[in-house]
Point group: C2
Chain length 212, copies 2
DNA sequence: TAGATTGTTAATCGATTAACAATC
DNA sequence: TAGATTGTTAATCGATTAACAATC
């Protein structure tokens, strides 16, 4: 399994999105150029990125859409479904629990946890909600590697520690807290702050220009 | 208003987070080194990034934390609050409506919109929910530039078009749909897919290594 | 055949890191 | 004074873009 550049990895889902569209539109073949136009990525970039997936196109023709979808999904490991746990059944947690796209991207939430005793035992979107006390037991029984963290910022570190102590391998962190975990734990942050930083600044620049 | 590199911009909120912590811990001064350790960013990188905010530190001493916070917040325009509209009061929308950090980051949701007639007129977290038909009217009256998009993927483009038609300047897009808008509209995407791509791949690589 | 496309090598660009003089 | 820190210039690194030969 060779390394794929981080930025290539981040672009692959965009290509996939484009490919699904083209497929829905009834197309069978696609060129890097077409994908480039759709995704606003440079044509050569697309070609290079696709090369990382191992696909080989045919000159003058392009790529079979199906083959390309397969290759990218395989690259991202979105073919075989990984089970995961979600901790923190607030609005954000529920949004994810009801987000059907997740299973198309290789992730299935098989249990949710929340310390609110009123929720314990209930179901949401077909997923049972457990008290945090059951986390350890279920994790070891169910071979889960990934934890989704959607708790309030104040308890994020505590819950993350608990996840790690129980043997979780990777945390998808939706909280604004920078988690302090050992090197071997994989952490991916959904970073609203950095996105908002870019948005705010660009809006400010725009308004500034309009006024001068 | 000079340009700040995109990646610098994205790191500034991390520094801010660290600075708030240091401040809460009672510190008055901080060095780039300390921030670097906390954020896992290279020391020199931190120094360069801070330079973009215009602050000047004192050799051997470092920076005043308060000055630094001020400078970064100013850079990101998080000092003066921008009003914004949110469209799509599902779980994700509600999560944002209840997210108090937002106002600390210069954003206040002053109205929410949803086409579910049952919600029309009701309040959530003190924010009134309006039918989409009122969008245009309120926008022109209230001087709003930013729209938060938390609708289902299928209608994202339609609602975005509506926002743009009514004069919105920037869209913070929480849907997985790539919005097709004119050049002059600022779009910032919260891209769960690319984050999940990185997570999935890294987990797959890790498991692959463990098994070999 | 000619045009479109591929894959790849070379050139450019931008961002990160290293090195270092200045200094409270 | 010596160590720690700053700000800045130079070197390195990686990613993007340009150029081009190969080809169905």
């Amino acid at each position: 399994m060779e390394a794929i550049p981080l930025l290539t990895l981040k672009r692959l889902p965009q290509y996939l999105e484009a490919l699904y569209r083209f497929k829905r539109a009834g197309l069978k073949m696609v060129s890097a150029t077409k994908i480039a136009v759709f995704t606003d990525v440079h044509m050569t970039q697309v070609r290079k990125d696709l090369a990382y997936t191992g696909v080989v196109g045919t000159p003058k023709i392009g790529h079979r859409i199906d083959t390309l979808i397969q290759a990218i999904e395989q690259c991202l490991n979105w073919n075989d479904i990984s089970s995961c746990f979600l901790v923190g059944v607030g609005h954000l947690g529920k949004a994810l629990m009801g987000y059907s796209e997740l299973s198309k991207k290789g992730l299935r939430i098989i249990a949710a946890f929340d310390n609110n005793p009123e929720l314990a035992g209930s179901y949401y979107q077909g997923i049972q909600i457990q008290p945090m006390s059951k986390f350890s037991n279920l994790l070891s029984r169910l071979h889960v590697h990934i934890g989704i963290l959607t708790v309030p910022a104040e308890v994020a570190q505590t819950i993350a520690d608990e996840m790690v102590a129980n043997g979780i391998l990777a945390i998808w962190n939706f909280t604004p807290t920078k988690l302090n975990v050992t090197e071997d734990i994989i952490v991916e942050n959904i970073d609203m702050s950095s996105s908002l930083a870019v948005l705010s600044r660009r809006v400010a620049e725009r308004l500034h220009h309009l006024n001068s």
